[in-house]
Amino acid sequence: MDAELTNLVYYVPPHVDGYVYPNEQNLLWSTLIVVYPYITGLVAGAFIMASLVRVFKVKALEPVYRLSMLTSLAFLLCAPLPLLFHLGHPERCLQIMMTPHLSSPMAMFGFVYAWYMMAVLLLELWFDYRRDFVAWSANVRGLRGILYRILTLGVHDVSEQALRLDDRMGKIISLVGIPSAFLLHGYVGFIFGSIKANPWWGNVLMPIIFIFSAIVSGISLCVLMYLLLNWARRQAQDINCLDAMGKFLFYALVVDASLEALDWIHRLYAAEESIHILKSLAAGRLFYTLLVGQVCLGTAVPLVILGGLQLFSRHVVPQVRQHLYTLSAALILFGVLAMRWNVVIGGQLFSKSLRGFTTYKMELAGHEGWLMSIALLVLPFIILGVLVKLFLPQKSPVTRTETGAAVSQAA
């Protein structure tokens, strides 16, 4: 049998403090498993952002609606990749859909992913874009034209009735999509929350904290993508849109911060057996990623900035506000990645014997190395670039008519 000789030719054990079970010395879930919840979180969060327009009719967020949906799609397409690279037998991955073990939260992955991709995201995008597909398939030549023609699915009806139906379907799907997005990311939180063997992971708040940090990261990503797109196209930034995004980001961040604070307050108050090692973990191995990265830079600083902007936005020039939103969004994105790191890697750094710590020896190259993780984080942006090129033509702001149907102002 072929062995992975790269690591086995010369084995260097990780540094262990105290006592860890022998099988726990090497970490099993690597940065790939850090990247996966991050990506699905961005998917869910971007979708929630978009649904604010459709379901809650926040007019100010109109300009960023299609971009949010495309962002969600770009990241969704990349979501299975970290898992696939992490599996010991990726060629057996279909088994998870052929014989799904219903008692395992991980078995949900195939179905939740397929449902969200096909029945929520692609369907809502199709209903939203259908009119444009019909228009573009008539005007555009070449490969792109063929693509648009395929995407119409052979339906060319763009009468008023059909467009009203499209809009109604889009609203229904968006409504169904919100719990679906929660499920897509919440089940990941439940995977961790269901592991009673690990006191850092196994608690009730885990799925909810995951969902809210996902929303926060998704909105931040949309902020940055919107700023980037307009800057690249030398278009004016819509400060009302940014203000609205900043407002929702602030609210979501308040809830997220409260939940994470509640988690810690409860742990410290109840002080179960594991509290000693978990305190050592937070203050020691996870000091930079948790206390500095996640709490200070990723939560406290953006809270202050965004909260300040909520109170004093009249006194702040739009240009400065824009830069503050950029800064907050970037810090939050970094902080949420740090949070995923703290959960996944942190949970494996201490022993289930509660008596010691091991170290994470992160590979550089190799299918579980951090170069791979960076590549997997960059890939969605490349895909998003392609999607924007295909589906967000220059100078065509989209607004909604009174019936709510999407109308491009320039085809």
Binding site: T99, L123, L165
Partner: protein, 148 residues
């Protein structure tokens, strides 16, 4: 528009959905491995496959076939709880081909002094207890109370 007829976009979508679900059903039918689910949520054949490895240690009974005298002697003395293969190592190769020699471990492995070792086992400090001499000079491994 005819009230009964579905709008064209929905018809296309329904066709697509049925096709996808049909494909999934077919895949599930063909790709589920045989014997799955017969005994529980697993491949029942895996139970048999788990038994196919050949044992490496032969077991006391196998030694008894040729060495029953020694085993009877050991069974009467203090080492009666120790099986042959504890000290002599895996015996499969020797059972199949008696030419293959068996080794023996160093007695200190069990009898070296150690604070975590229970007091029921006699322990010596090899540095102080006749250092440099072989254990077999004064002790008979199979019958520890006897002298050689």
């Amino acid at each position: 528009m005819n009230e009964r007829k579905l709008p064209p976009q929905l018809i296309r979508l329904v066709i697509l959905t049925v096709a996808i679900l049909g494909l999934y059903g077919l895949a599930r039918f063909f790709l589920t491995p045989p014997s799955f689910g017969e005994l529980g949520f697993y491949r029942a054949l895996a139970l048999e496959e788990a038994t196919l490895r050949s044992p490496v240690f032969a077991g006391q009974k196998a030694c008894d076939e040729c060495h029953s005298d020694t085993i009877k002697k050991v069974a009467k003395a203090e080492h009666k709880t120790v099986s042959c293969e504890s000290c002599h190592g895996p015996g499969r190769a020797h059972v199949e081909n008696p030419e293959v020699k068996m080794g023996a471990i160093f007695c200190v492995r069990c009898h070296g002094v150690d604070p975590a070792r229970s007091a029921w086992i006699k322990q010596v400090d090899p540095k102080k207890h006749y250092a440099g001499q072989r254990c077999a000079e004064c002790h008979v491994p199979h019958q520890p109370s006897e002298v050689p």
